[in-house]
Each structure stands twice: as structure tokens, then as C-alpha cells.
């Protein structure tokens, strides 16, 4: 446990100091950290899912607080919580199914039976919540048998983790942790390979001789474009440099190295050039539940220009960037101001940065935000590792990945404990 704490602290430090760049790296590291948290967590004999959830939430809360703007952290914490719940659910359903069929009479079983009536209310709530999950023909048909099973499962894996008293079999307890870690590994795998999965779809979207505009740098975009290039599509790319970080220069360099026809333009020339562009392809920082995008600064401008010229605005986002939250005033609340030194040389403007002016407030302010919010109406298409989606469909995807109980990580644990 102490070594886990050390790991957590280390990661917290990195997050606070903004040492980790990019949502992919952040989410991968978060997932890895949570995996070790889970593996180190001692699970009680019964209610082990609850214990795991508690542990993850405790760590997750700290992580989110360390960098509230990096939504990927919260996303991964929620994903892990969801995984735990899911694994627990599947285990118990399996167990229950076995129970119901063979009617094995263990002492634990008896206990569970006893608990049944008590928990029925919570069960109903959980069942209601589970309706958010995609309805398949199977779930529809097997709804009746499931409801019989759900009570037991939810008792252990439901939202009221503290209250559940269901006891699991010893074999199950070991199995749960193992399954969860397996699933988290899969998640990590997904995160690392999401580029390839997105890039696979490139040929479906890029045709011969297309002119594509992008701004700043995104690994996903790079892979996407290169995948199309590898499939022998020839097209040209306009890269807006993305001041003041000039990530666009990096992207241009990479693209040139891979043999793509690349033109580097200033951000201000975006409007001038967009009329000759067939498609805008950009990466995102996070995708909100309403289909809005938190994106590198400048993209709102690009999206507006694209809309004006009816150019499709395509956002590439791995599923770890899907955030189950709805944004409120995202330009301000989900933004971060970087150092003014990226815009103005302190040496040159030191005389203007004099704070001893008459009014007591300085005459010169420098604003250097990191992110832009692109409202959903400006986005034509999201391409995620599960395919292309409309902005209006995002909420549905999110329901696949997150359980509704975890939307607010922090308050639950604080109020719960």
C-alpha cells in the first residue's frame, strides 16, 4: 500500500505541474496507476467490489483535483469504476444463474437469500439506471430472467456500496480482482491502440487530391493522415501553426518526413485558405456529453470558418476523450491560462508590466488560454475508435462507457464516507 501511495503522489505531482502532456499519455498513465491501486488493494471477504470502488474513488478524486482541466483523468477513473461494476455484475449474474439453476445451498447463498427482500428497493433503482445501457434484443428478451438475477448482483455491485452485505464466494473474490485487472489492461490496450483504430477509417474519409486543413498537432491526426497516405491516397495538407505553441510546426515536420504534401500557414490565414479546403480534420482535447469539443485554442475560429464555407469539420477522438459531463461555460471553466511569456517577451515589456500604476492594477494584461470550446453545431463528424458519430449521438456513446453513478466522482465519496 505505501508504495502505491508513493506512486499516486508522484503522479499527482506530475499532474499538478502539468508535466504530462496530451490526453492520451495522461489517460494511459492514469489507467496504469489505477491498475496498481486495484492490485494492491486488499479486498475484504465480502463486498469486495465496494472496497475496490472506494479505493479507486479515493485516488481518483485526488487525481481529478490535481488537474481538473485534464478531463481524461476523470474519464479514466470513471471508466475503471464502470469496469469494476461491470465485472462484478457479470460475476454475480453468472453465480446467480448457477445458483438458480442448480440451487446449491451454501451458507453464503442463504445469507444472500435473506438479504434479498431488504435490498429490493436498491435493486429497482439499479435496474432503472441500467436502462441507460444499450438495449439489445437479448436484454429485451431476457429481461425477465435478468431481473431475478439483478437483485443479487446489484446488492454487491450497486451504487450503495457501503450498505451491501452480500457475501461472495472466496473463489469469486479472487476472480473479481483478477477480472477487473484484466479489463483495465484491456482499457490500457485500447488507449494505446486507439490511434490505429481511428486511422483505419482514414481511407473512408479522404479521397484522392483532397485538400485538408488542420491546426496544431495531434498524434491522432498525424496517424490518420499517414494511414491515408499509406493507402496510396495523394492529397495535400494545410497545417495552421497553432500559435503560441507552434505545434503545427511539429506536425508539418512529421508529415513532411512521411512524404505528404504539406503547406504551413499562419493561424490568421485560416479564413483565407478555408475556401479551398475540402475537409478540416483536427484532434480534440476532450469531447463533452453534448457533442461539444474542448480543443486546442484557435479551433473555434477554424470551425466557424469551416461552417461559413460549408467545409466538413471532423474531430478525431479516442474513446478515452469522451467525457460524460455536460459543459457549462467551458471557455472559462474548462480552460487554462498559460504563461504570458509565450506571447510577450518579458524583457521587452518589463516597463509595461509595471504594477505600481496609479489605480493599483496593471495596465497590461496578457491572455493566453490553452483551450477553445467548439459547440456541437459546428462539428460535422466525430471519428472515434468505434466509428464515426454525429455530435448528437455522443451522449449515447457515453452511456456505453460510463455508469451513471460515477458521473460525479468526488461528491459521492465525500458524502458517502
Amino acid at each position: 500500500m505505501p508504495d502505491v501511495q508513493a506512486l499516486v503522489n508522484d503522479f499527482l505531482n506530475k499532474l499538478k505541474k502539468r508535466k504530462i502532456e496530451g490526453s492520451q499519455a495522461t489517460s494511459r498513465q492514469t489507467a496504469e496507476l489505477l491498475r496498481s491501486v486495484i492490485s494492491q488493494q486488499r479486498v475484504p471477504y465480502n463486498n469486495q467490489a465496494g472496497a475496490l470502488i472506494d479505493a479507486v474513488k479515493a485516488v481518483g478524486e485526488q487525481l481529478i483535483a490535481a488537474n481538473p482541466v485534464e478531463l481524461a483523468v476523470g474519464n479514466i477513473v470513471r471508466r475503471v469504476l464502470h469496469i469494476i461494476r461491470e465485472e462484478d455484475l457479470s460475476l454475480t449474474t453468472a453465480a446467480m444463474a448457477g445458483l438458480n439453476l442448480s440451487a446449491v445451498s451454501d451458507d453464503e447463498d442463504d445469507e444472500e437469500r435473506d438479504d434479498l427482500p431488504v435490498l429490493s428497493a436498491a435493486v429497482v433503482a439499479a435496474a432503472a439506471r441500467s436502462t441507460l445501457r444499450p438495449p439489445s434484443l437479448q436484454t429485451l428478451l431476457e429481461d425477465m430472467p435478468d431481473t431475478a438475477a439483478i437483485p443479487h448482483t446489484s446488492s454487491s455491485g450497486g451504487d450503495s456500496e457501503g450498505k451491501s452485505k452480500s457475501a461472495d464466494k472466496s473463489s469469486r473474490s479472487r476472480k473479481l480482482k483478477h477480472d477487473v485487472i484484466e479489463a483495465v489492461n484491456e482499457l490500457i490496450q485500447d488507449i494505446t491502440t486507439c490511434h490505429e483504430q481511428i486511422a483505419e477509417q482514414a481511407v473512408e474519409h479522404i479521397h484522392q487530391n483532397e485538400v485538408i486543413l488542420t491546426l496544431g498537432s495531434s498524434r491522432t491526426v498525424l496517424e490518420f493522415l499517414c494511414a491515408a497516405k499509406e493507402k496510396k491516397r495523394s492529397f495535400r495538407v494545410f497545417v495552421a501553426e497553432g500559435a503560441p505553441r507552434y505545434q503545427g510546426h511539429l506536425l508539418a515536420k512529421e508529415l513532411v518526413a512521411r512524404g505528404l504534401q504539406t503547406t504551413l500557414i499562419t493561424d490568421s490565414a485560416v479564413f483565407a485558405m478555408i475556401s479551398r479546403v475540402n475537409m478540416v480534420i483536427v484532434g480534440a482535447h476532450a469531447v463533452m456529453a453534448n457533442g461539444g469539443v474542448i480543443a486546442p485554442v484557435g479551433l473555434n475560429m477554424v470551425a466557424l470558418a469551416a461552417q461559413k464555407h460549408a467545409v466538413p469539420f471532423v474531430v478525431l477522438a479516442g474513446s478515452h476523450k469522451l467525457c460524460p459531463l455536460y459543459p457549462h461555460n467551458p471557455e472559462v471553466l474548462l480552460n487554462e491560462l498559460r504563461s504570458p511569456s509565450e506571447l510577450l517577451d518579458f524583457g521587452e515589456f518589463s516597463d509595461c508590466l509595471d504594477f505600481r500604476s496609479v489605480t493599483g492594477s496593471p495596465l497590461l494584461h496578457v491572455v493566453n488560454p490553452t483551450f477553445d470550446y467548439v459547440p456541437p453545431k459546428l462539428v460535422s463528424l466525430f471519428i472515434t475508435d468505434t466509428g464515426g458519430h454525429n455530435p448528437s449521438y455522443m451522449y449515447r456513446l457515453i452511456a456505453d462507457y460510463y455508469s451513471a453513478d460515477d458521473l460525479v466522482v468526488k461528491r459521492r465519496t465525500t458524502s458517502g464516507n
Binding site: H249, L264, D267, F271, A272, S275, R276, E331, C352
Partner: protein, 662 residues
């Protein structure tokens, strides 16, 4: 172009003109003669027949015949009669004969009436007062086909006879007319030459003819005012008419190509002015031939940049860095270049002067120097020589950096002034007046205009406003300072962009004056736009479709402001308005130094693409301007007041008129 044509036409006009004074009387006589002349028709008719076989358009034929039969007894009515059926013929005839008409005016009234009616319909397009006379003349020509012209060539006594004969032999002239082609070969000045055209003319030709008429007339006017001696150029008609179509053809390409740079400063009559309003096409740099030619003339040694963006082949882009030392080394070799112009050119090249107003003023002042030091070479007229000189200076300046449209307007003004110099002025007086004109232009169109704009715009600043501006526009800066002086409480947001970062200088100046400023870059404009209440932008030029052509990025800022429902005010002097139209920022633009893109100024850590400059598939594009569509613009503040962008063409029109009459 037309002006050119006019000039060319002039000498011929003059030639003939010498005869014209004699001419008018004969036609008058002939007029009186026609009834008498019926008897001698035979004499002429053979000649007419001999000419005729070549071309006889069938419809004409009939009409002729009819006319012939019916009207033979009374020549005068006949002529009108058979004229009517053939509108084209009328025109041509008019054209051919129109010069004499001027002189003849008084003489012909009775005859004129019938044909004049016809003429009305045909010539209604030309609103010029002269048409009436022309139609008269036309009539004359038709009625006494050979007469007027014969006079010129042949001795008066003969001519008299001829005239008399011709009108009489009604059939004869018709045939002669038809046969005109043959006549053309003969090239006698008889109107037969003009008539053949009649028969043949296609629409285009007819138009050419009309234009040539106008040109000739314009020239005539010019001459008349300038050199009273040659006032009557009447008889010129036949020659210019004949030649102009062909001349026009070859003249056209050349004229269009040069048009922009040298417009000869003939007095332009209003019709011409109308024509001129279509701005000549600009130099397209993907046209190999033209580029080659331009290179031969060029003073500045330019080497083409290597990695050029495909979309912008039509714009010049040269390697930077080599021209300046090269030019500097040539300083003493360039004989014809005036040092003041040279200096300004170097400053443009080095980027020491930027900003529409500054560049324009620098150029005008350099021209002022030029004019002060100018002395007319012997055998040349000040007007033409100076115009040519200014033209060559302008093309030098263009080589250094493409002109802005506002500078184009200023140059046009200057050339106009030079052209309009009264000839009575002595050289020193002329120079004096030009210098004062330039001063007046600078003062009224730039300095005073700015003051007016500042007044107007400052009235739109309220307490508590947050004003956003982009880049560094000197008018906007003045507005902000003025509003600050008025004691208004407001905050300024300066949005800036690479590679020029002009906003930093503005920021420094404003902060020094005690304004509360926020500085940010263009990507953050949608972040900052929430707080902004007004956007003030400068412009390099405002085009007559309402498009604002300005520093690249202006369109982005205006667009975001529009999206956030923030009013956008463009501040621009009216001399920057231009009658050109433009829909995008690609067809015409200016390319800056591509290397400026690769390096981020003041950021040593950013040098990712520095070493890639030579890679084949990396292009760096440094656009200088962009076009803001009019729907993003709430208002244009100009020296004529605050107008919606849709009213730009009105200002352009009004302003041009005033511009001409300054």
C-alpha cells in the same frame, strides 16, 4: 486603352483637319445643290458600278432599286428613304462623315431632319451632344456620297461637279456604297470607303467604329482645348474609321497589358470615364510570357522562390534577402531612377515602411521630389514625359513591393492631375501646381480624413466598453487615443498574430499613453470575444462589393465577432475605396517572406521546421491580406460618414467624380 486609341487617332485627325475648314462650305453648297444635281448622275454612276461588283448585300439591293425607281426624280427624299431600311448603313455613313458634320452643322438643317430621326434611334446609346450633327453629316454623306471627300482630295472645282453629279445619280451612290469593299482598296478618301464598311460591318466592327468615333471625338476635344489652332479636325473621318478596327485588334492586347501602368493623360470625356471603371486585369505571374517580359524591364534582381504553393502561382514570390544588397549596390548605376523614389523603394523592400497610409504618403512625397527636380527634356511635352516617368517609377516601386490599392488610387490621381495640366502653364508653374496637388491629396484624403474618421468613431465608444482591435492600424490607434483623451473609460483588447506581430508596437504605444490593454493572439480571439463590446478594424482597402481587404486575420476576427454578436466597425479613409471586386483572398493577394513562417520570433525553442526549408514537399505560405465578406461588417467609418458596407459602391462613384474635379 481608349485614351491610347485616341492619341493615335489624333494625328490623322489633324491631317484631315486641315482640310476640313474648306470642306464645310462645299457640303453646304451640295446640299443646296441636290435637287439641281439630279441631271448629271451618269457621270458618277459608271465609277460606282465599277466599284460595286464586289459586294452587294441583297436586302440593300432591293431597297436601292426601289428607292431608285421611286425616288429618282427627287434625290433628297430618296436618300432618306433608302437609308431607313438599312440601319447599319446609316451608322457607317455617320461614322465616316461625322467630322465634316461639326463644321457643317449650320448649313444642313432642312435635310437633316429626316435622317436625324433615324439617327436618333440608332445613336441613342451615345448620349453625347454631338450625335445630332453627326446624323446630319451622315445624311450628307449619303446624299452626296462622293462630295465631301472628293473635295478634300480633288480640287474644289472638280469636287463641286462631282458632288453635284453624285447626289443626282441616286442609284449610283447606292451601288457605290455596296461596292465599298472595292472602294476600300482604292482608298480614295471618297466616302465610298466608309460606305463599304457599312455594308460589311459585323456587330463588333460597328462597335469598334463607334468607339473609334468617340475616341476621335475625345481627341478632337482635347485638341480643341489644348491647341485651339486645330480645332476643326472634321474631315478625319474616313481614315480613322477604316483603320481603327484593325488597329484596335492589335492594339487591344498591348493596351490592356500596359493599361494599368500608363494611362495616357488625355482629357477623358465622361463616356470614357465610364468605360475606365472596369479596372484592368492585374499581372498574373503564372503567365510565362508576361513574366519574361516583365523581367526584362525589371530593375530589381529577383529570383523566384523555390517551394511555391500551387494555389498562388499567379502571385509573385521571390527569394528574400538578395534584392536589397543588390539594389543598394546599383544605387549609382540606376541613372533614370530618382533617388527619392529609390529610397522609398528600398524602404518598401526592407519593410521599413508599412501600413497603407505610410506607404502612400512616402510614395507621394517621393513623387513630389521627383516633380521638383524635373525638367522637361527638349522636344517633349511635360505632360507626356512626366506621366511616362511616373509610370516607370511606379513599376519600380511595384517590383519592390506590390502596390496597395490605395496607392493605386493615389497614382491615378497624380497621373490625372498631370494629364489635366493646362497647357498654358509654364513648366515651373506646372510643377508648382502638381506639388500643391499632392500636398492637398495627402492633407485632405489622408490627414483630414483620419481626423474626421476619428471623430465619427469616437462617438461610438461608450464608457465601460471593451474595444477589440487587430494588428496595428494607425486610424484605430488614433481613435483609441482620442477617445481616451475625451475621458471615456474603456479597455482595449489587442489581438495579434504572427509573423509580423504588429500589435506589440501598438500595445507599447497605448500602454505608454495610459490605456488599459489586454494582449492576446488570434487563436484566443473566441476566448476573449465574450468580454468585447465593439471591434474596431483597419483596412487596406474596401472593395466595391463591400469586401474589406485587410491584414490577414482580419476576416477571422470579424467572423468570430459576428458569431458572438459583437458589432464590427471598419475604419478606412475613402481614398482606399476601390471599384474592384473580390470574393476570396486567393485571386489577388500578396505573399510575404515564407521564411518568416518557419521562425517564431522571440521564441528560441521553436525551430522545428528550420532545417526543412529545402524539402520538396513542404511549402511555407505567408499570406499578407485577406478579404472579409461584407456580412461580417456592421459599419464602415469613413471620411464621408458611417456607412453600411453595401454603400461602398456609392462612395466609390461619388468619390471618383470629386476625385476627377479636384
Amino acid at each position: 486603352m481608349e485614351a491610347r486609341r485616341g492619341w493615335r487617332a489624333v494625328p490623322k485627325v489633324r491631317q484631315v483637319g486641315f482640310f476640313t475648314p474648306n470642306e464645310p462650305p462645299p457640303p453646304a453648297r451640295t446640299q443646296s445643290g441636290p435637287p439641281d444635281s439630279n441631271s448629271p448622275p451618269l457621270s458618277n454612276s459608271p465609277a460606282g458600278n465599277s466599284l460595286s461588283p464586289v459586294m452587294i448585300p441583297p436586302p440593300r439591293h432591293l431597297s436601292d432599286n426601289l428607292a431608285h425607281r421611286a425616288t429618282s426624280p427627287l434625290p433628297v427624299p430618296e436618300t432618306s428613304a433608302f437609308r431607313r431600311p438599312i440601319p447599319g448603313g446609316d451608322r457607317v455613313a455617320v461614322v465616316g462623315s461625322y467630322n465634316p458634320t461639326d463644321s457643317m452643322l449650320g448649313a444642313s438643317p432642312p435635310l437633316t431632319s429626316p435622317s436625324s430621326r433615324i439617327g436618333d434611334g440608332e445613336f441613342s446609346e451615345e448620349s453625347s451632344p454631338g450625335w445630332f450633327r453627326r446624323s446630319n453629316s451622315a445624311k450628307f454623306a449619303s446624299s452626296f456620297p462622293g462630295g465631301g471627300f472628293d473635295l478634300t482630295s480633288i480640287k474644289s472645282s472638280e469636287t463641286l461637279e462631282v458632288e453635284v453629279k453624285k447626289p443626282v445619280e441616286v442609284p449610283g451612290p447606292n451601288i457605290a456604297e455596296k461596292s465599298g469593299v472595292a472602294g476600300a482598296e482604292l482608298q480614295t478618301e471618297s466616302q465610298s470607303s466608309s460606305k463599304p464598311l457599312k455594308a460589311k460591318t459585323t456587330k463588333a466592327e460597328r462597335r469598334a467604329l463607334q468607339e473609334s468615333q468617340r475616341a476621335a471625338k475625345a481627341a478632337a476635344k482635347g485638341e480643341a482645348t489644348g491647341k485651339p489652332a486645330i480645332s476643326s479636325e472634321g474631315a478625319a473621318t474616313s481614315k480613322p474609321v477604316k483603320q481603327q478596327p484593325s488597329r484596335k485588334k492589335d492594339a487591344l492586347p498591348a493596351a490592356t497589358s500596359v493599361a494599368a501602368s500608363d494611362r495616357k493623360g488625355v482629357d477623358r470625356p465622361p463616356e470614357k470615364e465610364r468605360k475606365k471603371e472596369v479596372p484592368p486585369p492585374r499581372m498574373q505571374f503564372d503567365d510565362k510570357n508576361r513574366v519574361e517580359k516583365a523581367k526584362k524591364r525589371a530593375v530589381v534582381n529577383q529570383t523566384e522562390a523555390r517551394n511555391r504553393v500551387e494555389l498562388f502561382r499567379h502571385l509573385p514570390q521571390y527569394e528574400r534577402g538578395s534584392q536589397l544588397p543588390d539594389l543598394e549596390s546599383k544605387f549609382f548605376l540606376l541613372d533614370p531612377m530618382h533617388p527619392a523614389v529609390y529610397k522609398v523603394g528600398l524602404q518598401y523592400l526592407a519593410g521599413d515602411i508599412s501600413g497603407g497610409n505610410a506607404r502612400c504618403i512616402a510614395m507621394l512625397q517621393a513623387f513630389q521630389e521627383v516633380i521638383k527636380d524635373y525638367s522637361t527634356p527638349p522636344e517633349k511635352s511635360l505632360t507626356r514625359d512626366l506621366t511616362a516617368k511616373v509610370g516607370s517609377y511606379v513599376s519600380f516601386l511595384i517590383e519592390c513591393r506590390p502596390l496597395s490599392m490605395s496607392m493605386g488610387n493615389a497614382i491615378r490621381f497624380l497621373k490625372n492631375r498631370i494629364a489635366k495640366l493646362p497647357l498654358s502653364l509654364s513648366e515651373s508653374e506646372a510643377k508648382e501646381s502638381l506639388c500643391s496637388d499632392i500636398n492637398r491629396f495627402i492633407n485632405e484624403k489622408i490627414v483630414l480624413a483620419d481626423k474626421v474618421i476619428v471623430r465619427h468613431a469616437a462617438s461610438k465608444v461608450r464608457d465601460g466598453d471593451v474595444l477589440l482591435t487587430y494588428g496595428s492600424s494607425c486610424v484605430v490607434e488614433m481613435i483609441l487615443l482620442y477617445a481616451h483623451e475625451l475621458g471615456k473609460q474603456f479597455r482595449v483588447v489587442i489581438v495579434d498574430s504572427r509573423p509580423k506581430l504588429e500589435g506589440q508596437a501598438l500595445l507599447r504605444r497605448l500602454v505608454a499613453k495610459g490605456l488599459n490593454c489586454t494582449y492576446t493572439h488570434i487563436n484566443a480571439v473566441s476566448y476573449i470575444m465574450h468580454e468585447v463590446t465593439r471591434v474596431f478594424l483597419g483596412a487596406s482597402s474596401v472593395l466595391s462589393n463591400g469586401t474589406v481587404y485587410s491584414r490577414v486575420g482580419t476576416a477571422c476576427v470579424a467572423m468570430v465577432a459576428h458569431a458572438f454578436r459583437v458589432p464590427v466597425l471598419i475604419c478606412c479613409e475613402a481614398y482606399k475605396f476601390h471599384e474592384r471586386v473580390q470574393l476570396d483572398s486567393i485571386c489577388s493577394n500578396e505573399l510575404g517572406d515564407p521564411d518568416a513562417i518557419a521562425k517564431a520570433s522571440g521564441r528560441m525553442d521553436v525551430n522545428y521546421v528550420d532545417n526543412l526549408a529545402n524539402k520538396e514537399n513542404l511549402q511555407l505560405l505567408n499570406l499578407m491580406y485577406d478579404a472579409t465578406p461584407l456580412e461580417y461588417i456592421s459599419m464602415i467609418v469613413t471620411d464621408y460618414g458611417m456607412i453600411p458596407p453595401t454603400s461602398v459602391p456609392v462612395i466609390v462613384r461619388e468619390y471618383r467624380r470629386e476625385h476627377l474635379w479636384i
